[in-house]
Every structure is written in structure tokens, then in C-alpha cells.
């Protein structure tokens, strides 16, 4: 007989995940349809799946070579940032953690500008090297923030947020210092990138982003149930048999890695890592085994739609997508900070 008190946890709740996948597909469809030239759904299907269509057809060209790559880029960056946010939240046991709030994004930006200064970035540079620099910067920032915030082995939310702000400001200043040293030609590229944008990138860059995202998903899925136990506190997780240090380190490095990859391709886009895991938690509860796939799907859908809004509201002018995410994220942050859940955690 099935024990009755477990309806909530007994079933693997696949249905909400399927819904999220549906939302993602819908977002993708909308992203390729809407723009300066609208493309009807039937045209979209033709452009995507018909073989041997001539490149002269404007609908095919717009969908295949402009909007679809951009939507895919937005989706992957959104998924990466959401997953990084989920990882940082699980190990700091706080729903307010986010790569931008923790200053990790600034660290990654710092890495990218260093790479630019050394002449490794730009159209002739190797995107893998730039990602590596961004990863190193993200890791440096994250390690500093956690080292500063730690009080007797705990991470109180006040010191965590303050040290995030301080480290973020410090690395932003470093970025400004380096941009002052850059030549005019490089400067333009860096400033454009810093604002956070989803301009077209090369295939190699996309591939690197995809690989890092896959590593992130793998690491977080592997440790998802252990991250659940970490919510009881580090001491209790240890007493239940979880190698807490090892789990935290793995998730920490993976989160920094995917933050670095996202920032180096799309610049600084704030609050995705805050909004998406929060929304996923509202939909599916706090079990990380469900939150990992949910954050990936929802993060991808969210940034695609945010980008759609960013390029439509003032068309033909285009807003940086970071503006949209911040307009959504800042109020949510304030709400979480004032609510019991965020303010009293730890």
C-alpha cells in the first residue's frame, strides 16, 4: 500500500518540466517570428526544415542566419546564468545569491578585459582562451567574496551581500582602468560587450558555451540531492554522510565556470540567476533534482523573451538585454530581501 502522506514527493513531477519545455519552444518560436520583418509560423517552419531553400528568400535568411542563432545564444546564456545562480544559492544556502550580486560577473568581466588588453580577444582571438580568462576572473572574485564573508565557518547574508558589492565594485574599477588603457579600436568592442548584448558570435564561441553549460548541468545534477541536504546546514549534512566540502567546491567551481562562459560571450547580464531559480522554486518546490533541469529550461526561455522585448519595445533601436533583466530582477531582489525567506536565512 502506498503511504498516504507523501503525495508531494512520491511522484517525479515531470509535468511541470514538460510545461517549461513547452514555454521554451514557444519562446523560441516567438523569437524567430517577431522583429523588423514579421515571419508567419508557417514560414518559420519552412525556413527551418525545408531543405535546399534558396538563400534569396528573405524569410529563410532572416530566420536561419539572424534570429535563430541569436535565440540560441540567448537561450544558452540564460540557462548558464540561471544554473550558476542556482549553484551559488544552494552552497550559500541563500536565495539572494546571484553571479552579479556576488560580484562574480564583475570578476569575469575583468578576466575578459585582461584578455582584450593582451590582444587575445577580438575577431582573431581564440574564444576558448577568453572564456578561460573569464573563468579565472569569476573564480578569483567568488573565492574573495566567500573568504571575506565567512564568519566562524558560516556565511551570514549581510556580510555575503556586502562583500559581493565590494568585490563587484573593485573589479568594475579594474575593468574601467583597463578600458582607459585600451586603444580606440579595441575600446569600442569592449564597451559594446560590457553593456551586455546578444550580438552574433562565431560557431566556436557557441560550441564552447554549449560544452561549459553541459559540464555545469552534469556537475549540478550529480550533486543535486547532496545540495538538498546542505540546506539543513553544513554540520548536519556532514552527519548525514555528505562530504560537504567536496560538494561545495565542485558546485562552486562549476558555477564560476558557467558564469565565466556566459559573461565572456554576452557581457554582463544581471539578475537572471536570481529570478529564474526563484520562479522555478515557486513552481516546483526547493528540490534541486528538479530545479536543475527547470532552471536550465526556464533560464533559456526567460532570456530569449527578455531579448525579444529588448529589441522590440524601441524598434528599430535596440536596448541592452541587461536593462530588461535588471528591471525584472531588482524589484524581486528587494522583495526577497524584505521577506522572511531571504532576510533571515542564516
Amino acid at each position: 500500500m502506498d503511504p498516504t502522506p507523501f503525495p508531494e514527493v512520491a511522484r517525479w513531477r515531470a509535468f511541470p518540466l514538460l510545461c517549461l519545455a513547452g514555454i521554451l519552444l514557444l519562446g523560441l518560436l516567438l523569437s524567430v517570428m517577431v522583429g523588423s520583418v514579421s515571419v508567419a509560423p508557417r514560414e518559420v517552419m519552412r525556413a527551418l526544415f525545408a531543405s535546399g531553400t534558396d538563400a534569396q528568400d528573405p524569410a529563410v535568411a532572416v530566420v536561419r542566419y539572424i534570429r535563430l542563432p541569436r535565440a540560441i545564444l540567448a537561450g544558452m546564456v540564460g540557462a548558464a546564468l540561471a544554473l550558476a545562480g542556482l549553484g551559488f544559492q544552494a552552497i550559500s544556502r541563500n536565495p539572494l545569491a546571484d553571479p552579479a550580486v556576488l560580484g562574480v560577473s564583475s570578476g569575469a568581466s575583468f578576466g575578459v578585459t585582461i584578455a582584450t588588453l593582451l590582444g587575445l580577444a577580438g575577431p582573431f582571438g581564440n574564444p576558448a582562451v577568453v572564456t578561460l580568462f573569464a573563468f579565472a576572473g569569476a573564480l578569483l572574485a567568488a573565492v574573495s567574496v566567500y573568504a571575506i564573508a565567512q564568519v566562524e565557518g558560516r556565511l551570514p547574508i549581510t556580510t555575503l551581500l556586502l562583500s559581493g558589492v565590494i568585490i563587484g565594485l573593485f573589479f568594475t574599477s579594474c575593468v574601467m582602468l583597463i578600458t582607459a588603457l585600451l586603444a580606440a579600436a579595441e575600446l569600442q568592442g569592449v564597451v559594446f560587450w560590457l553593456m551586455g548584448n546578444l550580438a552574433p558570435v562565431g560557431r566556436r564561441t557557441l560550441a564552447i558555451l554549449a560544452i561549459t553549460l553541459a559540464i555545469g548541468v552534469l556537475v549540478l545534477s550529480r550533486h543535486a540531492s547532496r545540495l538538498n541536504l546542505l540546506a539543513l546546514g553544513e554540520e548536519q549534512a556532514l552527519q548525514l554522510g555528505v562530504e560537504a566540502e567536496r560538494v561545495k567546491r565542485a558546485v562552486f567551481v562549476a558555477s564560476a565556470l558557467i558564469t565565466g562562459a556566459a559573461i565572456s560571450t554576452a557581457g554582463s547580464i544581471a539578475f537572471v540567476g536570481l529570478i529564474v531559480p526563484h520562479a522555478a522554486r515557486l513552481l516546483l518546490g526547493p528540490d534541486n533534482r528538479r530545479l536543475v533541469p527547470a532552471s536550465v529550461l526556464l533560464g533559456a526561455a526567460f532570456l530569449m523573451l527578455a531579448d525579444l522585448v529588448a529589441r522590440s519595445v524601441m524598434a528599430p533601436a535596440e536596448l541592452p538585454v541587461g536593462v530588461i533583466t535588471s528591471f525584472c530582477g531588482a524589484p524581486l531582489f528587494v522583495y526577497l530581501l524584505r521577506s522572511r525567506q531571504g532576510g533571515e536565512a542564516l
Binding site: P5, F6, Q236, G241, P286, A345
Partner: protein, 283 residues
């Protein structure tokens, strides 16, 4: 053979406190109380026994095996801890939290099946044993302090370990919930013939229920023995630094202790424990 054997264990914090050369044994089925003043080393001892920290010298054997050589998961199958405080960072539900107690029995590399049929049956039994089955779908952060401690207890029972370590199990509870938690713990101890170590600064609680007491102060064991041997003014006064009277409980005949307030001791400071002060500040 003893279930738990602590041999010459030393652990010093950077601040200097900790435990100094502690040795004792616990027999199977025994209910051992560890008592002593604040910062005597009680919590340190509990952390060492559950491998949260490793001793700097000496060793700890559980059923003859050195826990330093045991994996955390294997240890968690033998030793469960009921923590003093229980806060869950995210809005998990009671059933999910109790199922976390099944982790050591199902830890795999990729997927943990701790909510499989067996795990759910054990978790349900633990919920029923603690009278919290009706809370199964409630969020832990919405429960009262008493309910939360019962859920924490269910989580520890779901671990099905033969050794139970209790860290001030009734410290933050009202009278009624103290009674409920104690009766569940004692019933569990008797039925399972498990071994229980109770760490508490509540001398009367420990004297009333434990088979044997360890009195520790300054990181060292001062006395060990049956409650009536340990709970005497001669043992307690140097440990606590204040005069006490000891009498017999009218019903159980166990020793009962009370501090004496006099002019030399500032009111409320000598034996008001920090947790009591915190509680008073909250209300």
C-alpha cells in the same frame, strides 16, 4: 564489548577551549548522559563523535572500528544526531526533510533513490512515531518550534542508526513539548535497544533518565558513574563554580539539584545558561 570507545581524545580550538585527553566507553543499550557547564566541551565531544571534526590526538571507535577510517556515509548508517537547532534554508516540506534521513542508506553516485518504497515506509514510520504524520505536506519553515523539533527527531529516527546522539534535545521547548520529545526518545531507546548519548546542560533531565553520567568541565571528565554518584555537591560545586543543594525526586528517587543564590553570586549570572538568556530576550 563497548559500542563506543573514546581513547585519549584531544581537540583544541584556536581559542584554546575544547577537550583534553578524554576517554570513556559506552555499552550496548546504554543511555549515557554527558553533563557539564557551558563551554565544558560537551558540543565538541558530540562533533568529534559524529566526525564533523577530527581529533588532534587519540581515537574514537564505533563497534571496534576507528571512525577516522570509516566513510561518512558508513558512519551515518550507524550514528544519527539530533541537533540542538533545526533550520532548513529553503522551503522544503516535512516529508522531504524526513526522507533526507534516508540518504546514508541510498547514497549513489548519480541518483539517490532515498525516496523509493523502502525509504518512504521508514520515513512514514518515523513520522508516525513522532506524531507528525499530519504535517507531512507542510513547509518546515511554517512550523512552530515544538513541531520543528519533532520533525527533526523524525529525521534522525528515519536514519535507523543504532547509536543516537542527542544535543540538548529539549533546550528550546515548552514543558509539554519537552515531555513529548522525551517520551518518544525514551520509548525509542527501550524498544530498539539502541545506544543513546544525551548531551545536556540540564542536570535534572540527565539525572532523571540516564543510566550513567559523565560530568565534564574545562574539557576534562571530572566524574563518571551512576547519577546518584555524580550528582553530589562535592562533584558539582567545583565544576559549576557555585553552591548547590541535592535532594531526591519524590517519585523516581533520582537525585535532583538546585543552585543556591547567595550574596557572593550576582543574580542570574552564575547559572543562567546562555540559551535561557536568548529565549528570554526573544519573548
Amino acid at each position: 564489548m563497548s559500542v563506543v570507545e573514546v581513547q585519549g581524545v584531544v581537540f583544541r580550538y584556536r581559542t584554546g577551549r575544547g577537550v583534553e585527553d578524554v576517554s570513556f566507553q559506552v555499552s550496548p543499550g546504554e543511555l549515557l548522559g554527558v553533563v557539564g557547564p557551558n563551554s565544558a566541551g560537551k558540543s565538541t565531544l558530540l562533533r568529534l563523535l559524529s566526525k564533523v571534526m577530527a581529533p588532534q590526538r587519540g581515537r574514537i571507535l564505533i563497534e571496534g572500528r576507528d571512525i577516522a577510517l570509516l566513510s561518512r556515509v558508513a558512519l551515518a548508517r550507524q550514528v544519527a544526531v539530533l541537533p540542538q537547532e533545526f533550520h532548513v534554508a529553503f522551503p522544503f516540506r516535512v516529508a522531504e526533510v524526513v526522507l533526507m534521513g534516508r540518504y546514508p542508506h541510498a547514497a549513489g553516485t548519480w541518483r539517490v533513490t532515498h525516496d523509493g518504497t523502502k525509504g518512504r515506509a521508514v520515513a512514514l514510520a518515523a513520522l508516525q512515531a513522532t506524531g507528525t504524520a499530519h504535517l507531512a505536506n507542510r513547509r518546515v519553515d511554517e512550523l512552530s518550534g515544538g513541531e520543528r523539533q519533532l520533525v527533526s527527531l523524525a529525521r534522525a529516527l528515519a536514519q535507523e542508526a543504532s547509536i543516537l546522539l542527542l544535543d540538548e534535545p529539549t533546550a528550546h521547548l515548552d514543558l509539554r513539548h519537552q515531555g513529548i520529545v522525551l517520551s518518544i526518545l525514551l520509548a525509542h531507546h527501550r524498544e530498539r535497544r539502541g545506544t543513546t548519548i544525551l548531551v545536556s546542560h540540564d542536570l535534572n533531565l540527565a539525572a532523571e533518565h540516564c543510566d550513567r553520567l559523565l560530568l565534564i568541565a574545562g574539557g576534562r571528565i571530572l566524574t563518571a558513574g551512576r547519577p546518584e554518584e555524580v550528582i553530589t555537591p562535592r562533584n558539582l560545586e567545583p565544576a559549576y563554580g557555585c553552591p548547590v543543594t541535592v535532594e531526591r525526586h519524590p517519585i523516581s528517587g533520582r537525585p535532583r539539584v538546585q543552585g543556591i543564590l547567595n550574596q557572593r553570586v550576582l543574580p542570574g549570572i552564575a547559572w543562567q545558561h546562555s540559551s535561557d538568556v536568548r529565549e528570554a530576550g526573544r519573548s
